[in-house]
Symmetry: C2
């Protein structure tokens, strides 16, 4: 195993996949800087994203490789990709095609705020939660 310092200062791409073969991927909007979504990539999704410059992910629930936008048309063109210090997370800064990144119809998946500095039960609050598109029109193909 490589020493920690080698991994941190190396210019070799050496993703540290977890037990399921995945790294975390953070997608932000290249225009606004907004955090859009968090998902996962396996080695194949990472390879395809690097080669094509468009975001591919691995769905943990469906256990399947997927290209972002393959159903919705809302593909993500990657402007820049970075890895973090220990190479178990990838950041992609993207041009989000279409109205939003979230399958619920929002621009970002992070549309609920958690109140801070309180104890006990927590009630979330909607923030930037307006629908950017109608998910039924985009995803329902029946």
């Amino acid at each position: 195993m490589a020493k920690t310092n080698d991994i941190e200062e190396s210019l070799v791409l050496a993703p540290k996949f977890d037990a399921d073969g995945l790294v975390t991927c953070i997608a932000t909007d290249a225009g606004s800087g907004e955090l859009l979504m968090v998902a996962h990539m396996n080695a194949e999704a990472l390879r395809r994203t690097i080669e094509t410059g468009e975001a591919w992910y691995f769905s943990r629930s469906r256990k399947a490789l997927w290209k972002k936008g393959e159903s919705s048309g809302h593909i993500q063109r990657v402007v820049e990709m970075r890895v973090d210090c220990d190479q178990d997370a990838v950041w992609i800064n993207v041009e989000q095609q279409g109205a939003g990144a979230c399958h619920t119809g929002r621009r970002s998946c992070f549309y609920r705020s958690v109140p801070l500095r309180q104890t006990g039960a927590v009630a979330l609050e909607f923030r930037d939660a307006e629908k950017a598109f109608d998910p039924r029109a985009v995803y329902d193909r029946k």
Copy 2:
């Protein structure tokens, strides 16, 4: 199990912890918007972060709860916390105390870029990789 739509539109905080009892946490800088780091929280780290308004994490390598800055002094004051659609990821927007978030001495953990639209071996490139502090001075206590 709650229906997916209930989780996505609910105002109840119901984190979807993974098999190891963790959710992913993304920390961004409240001033610059910059992505600082990706880490994990267990239920206790999440509770403490909500109650104190300062970032607590769970280290997968050390298998221990830790308060960000407990060694370095570089604590993170949380300005806002949000959860994503399926509540398996948390975003905190923070005021980063001290010079940086990364234990290597950089401001952000994402200081290496991955070249895109190419095949074969990938050589990373340093980006924003200057040291903001000397990690030996901050962490070495021997």
